[in-house]
């Protein structure tokens, strides 16, 4: 009798210790979770199958106009975190929608935690959703190609003629995937092209050149390093692909758009020539420059462990420059910096001025689609029409309640209180997609951005990259393997941490080739050339 009890209590003690320790290993668990999620792409990569299985409820309405005889509740999904006062706004919106459309809406937010995975689940699980945000960075093209969304071509004239007329025809054409419209694009024209961000006051003080290209930028950084030894010349963090490599290629290599996947290179001026950037002399030259920057100490040696945002060190004065940022975010950074250090100045030099042309955002960049699983697509579209074209709906969901959340003075938007006390900030619902230029209110500080936009307007050229919808199913396995290789072998190169660039590139290329680089690049190239031929891009 004694023996088993002893072992049991021993077992229990071990378990207790285990339990106590497991409390400390939270981050480890997280990684496990991510790994297992990443390991099952096959289950989630086919939203079309499960989506098409759900019934299509669109056929029941009468062909002329909108049938509002039955009350419905619409499920509206947006990314990010909901504003604090969302409940109040939702109630206000529902009061109007109830009487005008016989519909109520529920605004749902995914939060930024694992948003991409949740987005995938929302579209593939077949749960009824009526409106969902789409963008190039949420893989709109891929999802549309797989049939996750409802085609809107026939619904538009019936449910929302006003919206159809409001969005220009060329925008409708631009968002078409395989000849069908799947999303309602935003019509606000903006630029999210990069530009050098640098401390203008220091540039003046030490008489340094204005950064216009990589060479002058390096000269500027050299000057900072020499004169301000305590300062880190360049702000950089662990995401060296997005924040260093992609930006570097944008200014230096005339990329068609980006980020280009799988080490592929395509130039804006020669869009039909697809080459492998990985392993090219062009890459070697770029990496040599980055390695030199690393050796000169422009950014930290442990850059792959830096988890700061790019902007934070600029605001606090720890770093002097950023390789690239878009006009809007540059403006935010400048405002934040000047609120604590009014005597500092921040300069901006847009890449388009150097490259000779600027591409405004593609219509795909912000939009709303109706998933296949929607039970009330017509009412959803009619409601979305209200959100965009009806001033009451639009301003309520973009800026909150006038007098409570904001005031308008001389045509400028002004927030009441500050961002912690105010329950609904400007564009508090992340309403990038239903911005309507006619109703938009801007903070006075936005004038700076408008100036930059006006400058870029003069040299604008169309974005020929974002309309391309890649279908990676033929090389899905190789694609996943390649991602791993890039993380493991290319990131240290991107960070300038490999002593011998030649050798480092050779090893990385060998590994990439083993992972199936050629098959992936060939597949991508074929699809790209089909796309350029179909759209007459030369």
């Amino acid at each position: 009798m004694h023996k088993p009890q002893k072992t049991v209590s021993l077992l229990l003690t071990v378990l207790l210790v285990g339990a106590a320790l497991s409390g400390c290993s939270g981050s480890g668990d997280k990684n496990d979770g991510e790994a297992s999620q990443g390991a099952s792409p096959s289950a989630s990569a086919k939203p079309s199958e499960s989506a098409s299985a759900s019934p299509e409820a669109s056929g029941s309405a009468s062909p002329s106009g909108l049938d509002t005889s039955k009350h419905v509740e619409l499920q509206f999904y947006m990314l990010g975190d909901a504003p604090k006062d969302l409940g109040i706004i939702q109630a206000e919106i529902n009061k109007m929608a109830e009487s005008e459309l016989n519909a109520t809406v529920k605004f749902n937010y995914t939060s930024w935690t694992d948003w991409d995975q949740k987005y995938k689940l929302l579209l593939s699980s077949g749960q009824p959703i009526d409106l969902i945000f789409t963008a190039d960075w949420t893989q709109y093209q891929a999802y549309a190609k797989k049939g996750a969304f409802l085609p809107l071509d026939e619904l538009l004239p019936k449910a929302s003629p006003k919206l159809q007329a409001f969005v220009p025809q060329d925008m409708w054409d631009a968002v078409k995937i395989d000849g069908k419209i799947y999303t309602v694009p935003a019509t606000f024209k903006e630029y999210v092209t990069n530009g050098f961000v640098y401390r203008e006051d220091l540039r003046e003080k030490y008489n340094l050149p204005v950064p216009k290209d990589i060479a002058s930028f390096e000269a500027y950084l050299d000057g900072i390093k020499k004169n301000e030894p305590d300062m880190q010349p360049l702000s950089m963090n662990s995401d060296v692909k997005t924040n260093l490599m992609d930006v570097f290629r944008e200014i230096n290599d005339d990329t068609v758009g980006g980020p280009l996947p799988y080490g592929i290179g395509i130039k804006y001026n020669k869009p039909t020539e697809v080459y492998s950037y990985w392993g090219s002399d062009e890459m070697k030259a770029d990496l040599t420059v980055i390695q030199r920057w690393q050796q000169k100490g422009f950014f930290a040696k442990n850059v792959l462990n830096v988890k700061d945002t790019m902007q934070a060190p600029i605001v606090s004065g720890k770093a002097a420059a950023m390789l690239g940022d878009n006009p809007n975010r540059f403006n935010d950074t400048q405002l934040k910096m000047q609120s604590s250090h009014p005597d500092w100045k921040l300069g901006y030099y847009p890449f388009p001025l150097t490259r000779g042309f600027a591409t405004p955002v593609h219509p795909i960049h912000n939009g709303f689609a109706i998933p296949k699983s929607s039970k009330n697509p017509e009412r959803a579209l009619a409601f979305y029409e209200k959100m965009v074209t009806d001033k009451r709906y639009n301003q309520l969901t973009q800026y909150g309640i006038e007098g409570k959340n904001y005031t308008v003075k001389d045509g400028y938007y002004k927030m009441i209180g500050d961002s912690t006390s105010n329950g609904f900030g400007r564009e508090g619902m992340n309403g990038w997609a239903w911005r309507n230029p006619e109703f938009m209110l801007f903070d006075k500080s936005f004038d700076g951005v408008k100036e930059i936009f006006a400058e870029l307007d003069k040299i604008q050229k169309p974005d020929i990259f974002t309309g391309f919808a890649e279908d990676y199913t033929p090389y899905q396995a190789e694609r996943a393997a390649l991602e791993q290789v890039e993380k493991q072998y290319f990131y240290p190169l991107y960070a300038g941490l490999v002593k011998n660039v030649d050798e480092g590139m050779k090893t990385a290329m060998d590994k990439a080739k083993q992972a199936g680089l050629e098959k992936v690049q060939e597949g991508y190239k074929k699809q790209w050339l089909e796309y350029t031929a179909a759209n007459g891009i030369q």
Partner: protein, 297 residues
């Protein structure tokens, strides 16, 4: 002989104390760092990094957290409710399952045990599970969804089963039966009191799992007022990471302010503090429960 043993004892004591002290310090230092950072002026953290003694002392972090405490408080409420309800319900079901599965007169006990064990090896995966809960059970935005999935785990059922089997001899069941007790009475008058140490362990497991859970909130909760505490924290960190990762090309601009370093740390203290203080006191009871079980029999 005796002297030599003493020598060894002293040596053993010195070594074990040193090891434990080093381990304790290794566990405590990060906490100290967090506490110190939460009391430091944010500018100082950015400029000089983390230090054990705040370079510029400030309560600003805590002031910001408590300026609008309702989010933290509601997260606390949700986590407390799910932990208490989930642990109690879970214990009830797990002990019942364990009790039934170890009864020799239950003919299909092995089949059922295997069935439960089987689920630890093979599962449907994330997507079917998600579909089940959102589409068929329709549990989004309910307290049920925060409690229900974690209620019973195969591992704990098997643990409980084995514990009851070793702690309660079959003869005890028989004699109780002869005295006129029915199966349920045996369960709550005999099995439950005798398996207290096991219940304590399983209860601790359950409570920890509920307290530390964030994944269920992440998947199934849209209403910010129903976020669990851990998810509330985790989401703040993730938002910052999202902003960091999204390149300028996405054009995403977020209205809200990013919490400063010192606010983040203050929030971590506010969120973990109470449970940290509670833990040592509660743990004494668990240890007591364990030793009671060990001495008896």
């Amino acid at each position: 002989m005796a002297i030599r043993e003493d020598k060894y004892a002293v040596l053993f004591k010195t070594i074990s104390y040193t090891v434990i002290i080093v381990l304790t310090i290794a566990c405590l230092l990060p906490f100290l760092l967090v506490i110190s950072a939460s009391l430091t002026e944010n500018e100082a953290i950015v400029k000089y990094g983390y230090r054990f003694i705040p370079k510029e002392f400030s309560f600003e972090g805590y002031r910001l957290v408590f300026k609008f405490p309702e989010q933290v408080l509601s997260a606390y409420k949700v986590t407390t409710i799910t932990t208490v309800v989930g642990t109690l319900l879970g214990l009830l079901f797990i002990t019942m399952a364990g009790y039934v599965l170890q009864r020799r007169d239950f003919k299909y006990r092995n089949a059922f045990s295997f069935f439960i064990y089987f689920t630890t090896l093979f599962g449907g995966g994330l997507v079917p599970w998600y579909i089940l809960i959102t589409k068929y059970l329709k549990l989004t935005d309910t307290y049920t969804v925060l409690i229900y999935p974690g209620l019973m785990t195969p591992f704990l059922i098997i643990l409980m089963k084995n514990f009851i089997r070793s702690a309660i001899p079959e003869e005890l069941n028989e004699s109780a039966k002869i005295d006129g007790a029915n199966d349920f009475k045996i369960y709550y008058r005999i099995v439950l009191p005798l398996s207290l140490p096991g219940i304590a362990t399983v209860g601790l497991f359950l409570a920890l799992a509920y307290w530390n859970d964030w994944f269920l909130s992440s998947l199934f909760i849209n209403d910010q007022k129903m976020y669990q505490l851990q998810f509330y924290l985790y989401n703040i960190v993730n938002t910052i990471q999202f902003i960091m990762q999204m390149g300028a090309g996405t054009g995403v601009s977020l209205g809200q302010d990013i919490p400063t370093e010192s606010t983040k740390m203050a929030m971590a203290i506010v969120v973990t503090g109470p449970i940290l203080l509670l833990y040592p006191f509660v743990q004494r009871y668990f240890v007591k429960g364990l030793t009671i079980g060990a001495v008896k029999g």
